[in-house]
């Protein structure tokens, strides 16, 4: 077991040598690279990375440039997780056979994917990786839309959001279906660790990532990633949106250990009404018309119910 990086405060953290480079082509103010940096900087070990098709992949590997200073692979939309799982299986096999040239190096295996590649297209592949028990970490950059291809709905898109394939208008309020609860689905695979993180709570995030690296087995991380283009807000407000998402409990931060032990890791001091979170984004603009106001009330009820459920599960330890 390699030594865990000691990160007490932000000043100490800032001495990390970044392994993700600038001049990637992500939009100004994109939260993807903030999340990626926090994940990569959480460890000093070697990394084997993959990215499924999505904003992150197309923007960080534009010929002839790469933004990754670590081994990185891209295959297809669906199989980023299996690519890394294959590398991990090979590493394990060579280690048991004693054929590794540098057996003391302890690489970490991480696959990055957007919500489209995880919730929809790569779902079966990820489920397979989790079930087979590979020692990998799958990080979802959850921006609730297929942002790379122009803003189509994914199964992560929440109710009322206006997308290009579920637009709002005179007859429709946009997306009709609720968001898939991916963290619980993955926890139901009885994996050692699944958690929801947000880039604004960097300490919580680094703690979870480091715990994820330290356990033996598959780890699932769902990270909220506000998208300036599709959520329709000003690039400078990325962190404000993340703050609103965590403080309004739309994205509660919690972890599930071994598929049953749920811990809430962040309790906001002042809970912000969901209305404020919705009002900050252009994709929910139509909800503030009189005929759709009831949807905001429903949102609030849904969020409250989910928060109550999380608290009761935390107490019950089941």
């Amino acid at each position: 077991m390699s030594e865990m990086k000691n990160i007490k405060n932000l000043k100490e953290f800032s001495t990390s040598a970044d392994r993700f480079e600038g001049a990637n082509l992500l939009c100004p103010g994109c939260a993807h690279s903030i999340i990626v940096r926090e994940v990569l900087n959480a460890t000093n070990d070697d990394l084997v990375l993959s990215a499924s098709t999505g904003c992150l992949e197309v923007c960080t590997a534009v010929y002839p440039y790469t933004s990754w200073d670590a081994s990185w692979i891209h295959i297809g939309f669906e199989n980023g997780s299996t690519a890394v799982a294959g590398a991990e299986a090979m590493y394990k096999a060579l280690k048991t056979k004693g054929r590794l040239k540098q057996p003391d190096r302890n690489p970490k295996f991480v696959s990055f994917a957007g919500d489209g590649a995880s919730y929809d297209i790569g779902f079966q592949w990820i489920s397979g990786c989790m079930e087979r028990g590979h020692n990998i970490m799958h990080v979802v950059l959850d921006n609730e839309v297929y942002a790379n291809t122009g803003g189509q709905r994914s199964s992560s898109t929440p109710i009322g959001s206006s997308t290009t394939t579920a637009p709002s208008g005179r007859k429709s309020y946009g997306e009709k279906k609720n968001k898939k609860d991916m963290v619980s689905i993955m926890a139901s695979h009885h994996i050692p660790y699944s958690a929801q993180v947000a880039p604004n709570k960097w300490k919580d995030m680094v703690k979870k990532i480091q715990y994820g690296f330290s356990v033996d087995g598959p780890v699932f991380i769902n990270a909220v990633s506000p998208c300036t283009t599709e959520w329709k807000f000003d690039p400078k407000d990325t962190m404000l949106l993340t703050d609103l998402a965590t403080d309004s409990l739309v994205f509660p931060l919690y972890e599930i250990i071994d598929g049953h032990e749920l811990n809430i890791t962040y309790r906001p001091k002042n809970v912000v009404p969901v209305e404020e979170y919705l009002a900050a984004q252009g994709r929910f603009k139509h909800l503030f018309k009189d005929e759709y106001k009831y949807l905001i009330t429903e949102w609030q009820e849904r969020v409250d119910a989910k928060w109550a459920m999380l608290q009761r599960r935390e107490e019950a330890r089941v």
């Binding site: 800032s14 690279s33 903030i34 790469t66 200073d69 300036t228 990325t238």
Partner: protein, 130 residues
């Protein structure tokens, strides 16, 4: 702009490449690492910017919020100190200004054409409590 297709451009439109001068590369290299020519570090996206952050050292408390929340790895931190902004990779999103906790802010956005000296000379003073 409204009627142009994907393969048509306005007269006088400029199409940028990634190539450009990356002039302060020495200041931004991590000490013990070697970059290849194919690292996107050697590319330049400063053309994207219409507003730029200006750093005022006098008010900085080295909290490193801008370092952790910068999406473009453009905040240069050395020895737990904030040194400056990497203007070759900054896209001018303005997150660093939003997260800066000092009063007055030690980072502010200015138009791209404004000189740094002019910006620093007209720095706002401390705001009173409202």
């Amino acid at each position: 702009m409204a009627n142009t297709g994907w393969d048509e451009f306005e007269i006088g439109a400029m199409l940028r490449t990634f190539e450009g001068s990356v002039d302060n590369i020495a200041g931004t290299l991590q000490e013990d690492r070697n970059y290849t020519q194919n690292s996107s570090f050697s590319a330049n996206v400063s053309d994207w910017r219409i507003i730029k952050p200006v750093f005022n050292k006098d008010y900085c408390i080295d909290c490193q919020f801008c370092w952790i929340y910068c999406p473009d790895i453009s905040i240069i931190a050395r020895d737990k100190k904030m040194v400056g902004v990497d203007m070759d990779h900054c896209k001018g999103c303005g997150i660093c200004v939003e997260v800066c906790p000092t009063n007055p802010k030690s980072l502010l956005m200015f138009d791209e054409h404004i000189d740094e000296e002019v910006a620093l000379a007209g720095w706002p003073t401390k705001e009173g409590k409202k």
